[in-house]
Structure formats: structure tokens, C-alpha cells
Amino acid sequence: MSWRDGLVLSLRSVIRRPARTSITIAAIALGTGLLVALASIAVIAETRVISQLGKGGPATAITVDASAPDPTQIDSDNPRLGPTKPINASTLTAVRKLGSVQSVTSVQQQQVFVIPPPQGSGLSGLTGGDPDRGLARPYNDSVIGVDFRQANNLPITVLAGRLPPAGSTSEVAVTLGYFDHVHMDPTKPAAVLGQVIEIGSPQAEPGGQQIRGQWTRAAIIGVVAQDLGSGGIVASNQLTAAERSWQLAGVDDSADGLSLPASQYLSLIVVADSLDSIHTVRSEITALGYATTAPEQLIASVQRYLHVVDMVLGAIGAIALLIAALGITNALLAAVRERRREIGVLKAIGAHDRDVLRWFLVEALICGVTGGLLGTAFGIATIAVVAHIVNDYLIAQGLLGVDLGGAPLATSLIGVAGASVLALIAAAWPALRAARLPAREAVGAL
């Protein structure tokens, strides 16, 4: 029998019993849908949870601190730091040369004086604040300077507005700490967008008790949460570099609390190329003489728990598929019983065992592919519904929503392919049974 004849026969047989076929396909679709949904949610949840551990940046990010490592703390995620050790351009170059490193981003920090609105002009703003009248006082703070082109590799989460463009010296982002200084409600972060602040970089004058400032006016265009360092303002590294140059042009005035910055960079953010590489990269940086911080143990621990969740979800999905497989087997066994005479007739007119086998396997494959496609679509729809419900809940709880996205393509393809293979496996026994039916027994009337 040709494949075409086999396909026609199988298709017509599938259509002949619409109710049974529909139930069989529905069982496969439910099983596949459940597995696709559970597998996708597990994969996406794992990605999101691990991503959360990166605090907005990649989970594979390692912070290199401007300190020597404490030998007793090397395997700790947040080690106690050793003595200060400046990070400079040569450190940056050395770290970039390490293996398994995807990217290295430098972070700068500059001590500044901030005058919130309503601003006066120049130093007049120093006396402009009056908390009793709801007006903000000028305050000391630090500006964290980064290369915003590398924002995706940094532990920065935008809460409102956007990040300043790379190289900008007229736009900055602030953290929620800013709201305390300006007496505003931090639950409404967008309220500060558009405010203009004045940032003063101090310089101790040689030989005197004088401190003078270089002032920059910048608009707040974003509110962020950041884990780069202590500082309420996040700006481009051009802004912090200019402030650093200004301060270095003065003298060290440690007695008045204005010491010259010892380290060119506050820290480096090193992104390893995979979670498995984090430990190696950290060890290599430690060998360079710097302390590192990374949620390495935490991620490993969370991954272990997530694997347990994966196994539980996988087991639930597998049970659903097993039930679907039993449905296929049962439906085909019924079909074999029903078609004993038909099978016999086919054999009587010359069909080989393999022809009968093909007839039933193709029939199962049709159900498997159809069920797999419907099930995958059902799974994707389920994910969308779950994402919607979860988002609604998180927002109602005053938390940020999560983007579950769609089912990963690989999971969808595996869903269809898996259902098809499952259908074939489930059909193997009934199909073999049909194929091995003795021709005479099958043609019962003879």
C-alpha cells in the first residue's frame, strides 16, 4: 500500500468517528497544553527569579570592589572587604582580558552638593530650603556615574521615566531617597520628573579653608532603584568624570571631610558569560587582588529549589500526558476491535502487516499532531491568562508587574513534536495487534 493510500485511509478513518476522534484529540490537547504551560511557566519563572537576584542587571553580574579581598571571605556572596585598593584603567584592562567575561562596565562615584527646586542661583540656594513650608533644603549626596550604553548590564531598575542618554550632563536620574529630601511621596515616583536640580562639585582651594563648587544644572528624567553604590543621583560617567577632574584640581582637605578620591572607579560590574562561569571569573578577579560580590551561592541555592519545582511541574505534566496516551491506546484498541473484519478484508486483498501497521500509526499521528497543535495553542493562551492574573495581583499588592511573555519557541515545538511521538508510542501496541491479526480470524465470516 502506498503512503498516499495509507494517509487517505487513515484520514477517512479519523473522520469516520468524529466523537471518539474529538475526545482523543481533546485528551492529547489537554495533556500537551498543560505540559507546555507548566514547562513554559517553569522556564520563564526561573529566568525571572534568577533575574530578580541580579537586582535589575544580569544574574551573572559580579561587582568588583575597590578593595583587596579578605582571604577568609572568598567564597561568600557578600564578603567583608579587605583594605582599600584603587581600581584604575589598568585594572579595567586586566579584567577585560579574563576568560568567560561578557562585558565590563566601570562605575564612578563623586561626592556632590545638591540643591533641589525651587533653586536659587548659585550658592544662594544653600539657604533656600524651608522644610516647615514644604521646601527642600540643600544636601550632600553622591552621584553614581555610569555608561548608560551598558545599562542592561547594570543593576539599575527604572521605576519611572527613563534613563539619561549616554554622555548627557544635563539630565540625571534619582533614587527614591531623593523624595525624602524634597518631602514628596515616593509611591508616586513620576511626580519628580521634570524637576531641575543643581549639582555642585566641591574643590578645596590650596592653602586655605575655602571650598568652592562647580555647578551643573540637570533635569530629573528618571527615577531608579540601583545597587551600584551609595548615591541618590545616577548620571552619565561624563558628568562624574568632569566633577572628578574639578575636585582633583584642588587639594586634599581630609580634615574638613573633603579628601581627594583615591580610586578612579568605585567598582566594576563584570558580566560572566554564564551562571556556571561566575565562580571561575570571581576566582580570577580575586587573583588580581580585588574583592568581588555576586549572588553566586544564592543563585545556586535558588536554582536547586527551582529544579525541585521543575520536577514537580514536569511530573504533573507527564501524568497528564500519560493519561492522554492511555486515551489514545484505548481509542485505537476500540478501533481495532471494531475493524477486525475490515483489517481482514484488507489482508485478504493483499495488504501486508506493515500496511495495517501504517494505517493505525498514521491515524494516531494525525490525532497526535492535531492535539499537539491545539494543546500548544491552549498552553500559550493559559500562560497569557496566568500572566494577566499574576500581574493584576502584583499591582493590587503595590508591587511591580512581571512580564511572563509567551511560551518559549522551543517549548512550543517540543509540545507538538512530543505529542506526535507520544501518539505513535501509545498507538504502537494497538497497531501491532492489528497488524498481527490472522487474516482468517479477522475475516470472521469465512
Binding site: A348, A351, V443
Partner: protein
């Protein structure tokens, strides 16, 4: 490859020697055929008669290669059936034998034309020839206009004519019919028998019919009576 005598009227078409058959084993064994010997000339029309349980259907299924021979021999032309394995028997059934069943045995999810084309496909007829041959054979049984109908859309007589067309489309050497009129009214039965006889003559094949019906048996040139698994007696008509 299965071989058989290629035409009627040229020697022995079927030769049966010492054929015995038992269903089951041990104490539950039921002997059905107890040693049968006969020859059938090519092109002849033979009726197998006998009461229920006499072994007619078993003999027909053994002749048709529907089950293996355990004891004795059957020769169909030059083919010794006992030497054929499952695959060889399937090929034998597709190329040498044509079956007509009491229950018609049409695949009800296929049209009449597709039923015939399936038999041609199994017999290894090239795809480009199947359509024309199916149409020819349907026309020869008077059902050219019913090619696209499903079996359930046809009367019993029409279904049996389609079954005959399917049996003959591969130009078999041996046509085996099991109670071919058992499910038909008298008028349809007459038409089917006329058709079988005409096509047998036209195709030159050997026809063996199992029947309880004396009228059907009367059309045969030779009648073999079975009783308790043995050949009880044989009647040969003077006029073929």
C-alpha cells in the same frame, strides 16, 4: 515472487493433497479437515457444499492463503502454498486470488472507485493505470455511474457487484466466493450470479463458491460435498 498458471483451461489450477486442519491444541483441539484430496481444472466453476461445521470455510481460507497450512499440501498452479511466509501469502492474495465475501467486505470510508484502486495498489499496479482500470472494471459490472459513491450509499446487490469488480480488477487466477448471495434478495442474487459467471468466463479464472443454496450450487459445473471435514461426495455436471 508468487507464480501461478496464467490462464484457464490449461491444466490443473488447484491441487489439494492430504489436507488436514485442526483448531486449538491438546484436549481442546477441534479437527476441521480430516484429510482432503482433490484437483480442480483451470477455468472451472466449483461449488463447495455441506452443512455448517463441515469445513467449507476453513478449506476456502486455506485455499485463499488466509491462514497457514499445517498438514497436507495445496498447490495453486505452480505455487506451493505451504512454502509461503506471511509476506509471500500477502503477495499471493493480492496477485493470484480474488475474494468475494458474503458481507461484501468493502471499506466503507472509501468510495467504490477508491476501494478498487486500493486493491490495484496492493497488487502493485502502477499509479497511472489504476484509475482507468478501476473505471473499466466498474463499467463491466454496470456501476460506472457509482464510482464516487460510498458503499453505504449502494444497495446490497450493488455492493456485491462492487466487491466482484474489486476481486476481478487484479485479473486473479482463482476467484473464491463465500456465500456471495447470502445477504441478497432473489433478484439481486440472480444478477450477481449471472455477473460472476459472465466475468469468470471472460477472465478465464477458476471460480470456487462456498454455498448452502442449492440454486447457487446448481450453476457450478462441479460440486464438492463436505461432511465432518471429509470429502463426502462429488457431483459433476455433464454440461459445463
Amino acid at each position: 515472487m508468487v507464480a501461478a498458471d496464467s490462464a484457464a483451461g490449461r491444466g490443473v489450477a488447484v491441487s489439494v493433497r492430504g489436507l488436514r486442519h485442526t483448531y486449538g491444541r491438546g484436549r481442546g483441539a477441534v479437527p476441521v479437515l480430516r484429510g482432503i484430496d482433490f484437483d480442480i481444472e483451470a477455468g472451472s466453476h466449483v461449488a463447495l457444499q455441506g452443512p455448517s461445521g463441515a469445513g467449507k470455510s476453513t478449506l476456502l481460507s486455506l485455499l485463499g492463503g488466509l491462514e497457514p497450512i499445517r498438514e497436507g499440501e495445496i498447490w495453486i498452479g505452480e505455487t506451493r502454498l505451504r512454502t509461503l511466509r506471511r509476506g509471500g501469502l500477502a503477495e499471493y492474495r493480492s496477485r493470484v486470488i480474488g475474494f468475494v465475501f458474503q458481507h461484501f467486505g468493502l471499506i466503507d470510508v472509501l468510495t467504490t472507485r477508491e476501494n478498487i484502486m486500493l486493491a490495484l495498489s496492493l497488487a502493485g499496479v502502477p499509479p497511472d493505470q489504476r484509475g482507468a482500470r478501476a473505471d473499466d472494471v466498474l463499467a463491466s459490472v454496470g456501476l460506472g455511474g457509482r464510482a464516487e459513491h460510498r458503499p453505504q450509499q449502494l444497495s446490497g446487490g450493488e455492493q456485491q457487484r462492487v466487491a466482484i469488480a474489486r476481486a476481478l480488477c487484479t485479473r486473479p487466477h482463482l476467484l473464491l466466493a463465500d456465500e456471495p448471495t447470502g445477504n441478497l434478495d432473489e433478484e439481486s442474487a440472480e444478477r450477481v450470479l449471472d455477473l460472476l459467471e459472465r466475468l469468470r468466463a471472460e477472465n478465464g479464472c477458476t471460480l470456487i463458491v462456498v454455498t448452502h443454496n442449492p440454486l447457487v450450487a446448481a450453476r457450478a459445473t462441479r460440486r464438492l460435498h463436505l461432511r465432518d471435514g471429509e470429502l463426502e461426495r462429488e457431483l459433476v455436471e455433464a454440461s459445463a
